[in-house]
Point group: C2
Chain length 193, copies 2
């Protein structure tokens, strides 16, 4: 991609990507827009990868960009989530463990007040309506990130099958290694009848 | 749905649901097939819900059924994940905190050897090729689950904006509450340059 060409995201025009994002994510956000650029940059550096896996370093927005653009989802196990609060991701080949990590560069963001107001939580930036921030990121996203080759010591996906059995309290199936009852019956239930 | 009618999943024919599942999840699995029935049953009991949220009690397969069928995704924050290893989920209204929880009933599974081989990890069941298990679940999924109204004491989604700053080691943005450096620079990095 040259800087004069209209940006694309994994082969999609920006408009097509934003339509897809609005449909899956439910609304257009700065995060899912920026996330498209991170996926695009990491995948471009990684090159064609038959066994692609992803690690996403935040639960916010970015996982949806990965799930829309790559074969990696939370439920199929090829996208791993770390709740680190970092707007960064790695795409890697689970056979070779070679990957590419992309992240948002704070200093480049800080030079652009329209985007700094979002990414730096208002510290020194303009506070603009969300759709204006989205439009700015759609234009400049590629210039806001860095990407670098990395390797992983091990694949993050666990292949273990864990033994399950009936919880003696509720009767539901649970992993036996969690103790004598399921986590809900151990007091962690988020619901009540 | 009457037991004599062909099963549907959230208004989709089973065939359409399975095509969608194969496309998003990457392959057809027993889990994503069963997951469609859990979402369908919980949503049916809950009824029309403008502010729908989801809690999924496992990271395996089931999150993808929720993300395909509801407006709730990991990245938009309306799907919450608990890594409990339980094949169960709750859909709820985040305004009223009324919900419906659906789960797979071990005893009903145990009566069906074709499905028990999958769900009970081979304990007393037949070990069949995956596509045969998928076909059995597609036929009988609704009979394998239970669903019940629940309420939540509080919405699970955190609305807090956390303060971020540059990590003094790598320069990347991270939540300051995590300590003097980001979690990668505190020794948790899953990658190396």
């Amino acid at each position: 991609m040259t800087s004069s060409a209209a940006p694309t995201i994994c082969g999609l025009t920006m408009q097509d990507y934003l339509i897809k994002a609005e449909e899956f994510h439910g609304h257009l956000s700065p995060g899912v827009t920026m996330g498209g650029f991170l996926v695009d940059a990491a995948w471009e550096l990684l090159g064609p990868t038959p066994y692609i896996n992803a690690v996403v370093e935040t639960v916010v927005c970015l996982p949806d960009a990965v799930q829309m653009l790559t074969p990696c989802t939370l439920g199929n196990g090829f996208m791993q989530i770390l709740d680190w609060g970092k707007f960064a991701l790695t795409l890697y080949d689970r056979e070779t463990l070679k990957g590419a990590r992309a992240w948002v560069d704070r200093e480049r963001v800080a030079e652009r007040p329209a985007i700094a107001g979002w990414f730096l939580r208002g510290a020194g930036g303009l506070v603009l309506p969300k759709d204006e921030v989205v439009a700015e990121i759609a234009r400049q996203g590629r210039e806001l990130l860095q990407v670098r080759p990395v390797s992983l010591p091990a694949a993050l996906k666990s292949q273990d099958k864990v033994a399950t059995g009936p919880c003696p309290a509720c009767g539901e199936s649970y992993p036996l290694r969690q103790g004598p009852a399921c986590l809900a019956c151990q007091g962690q239930a988020y619901y009540r009848p």
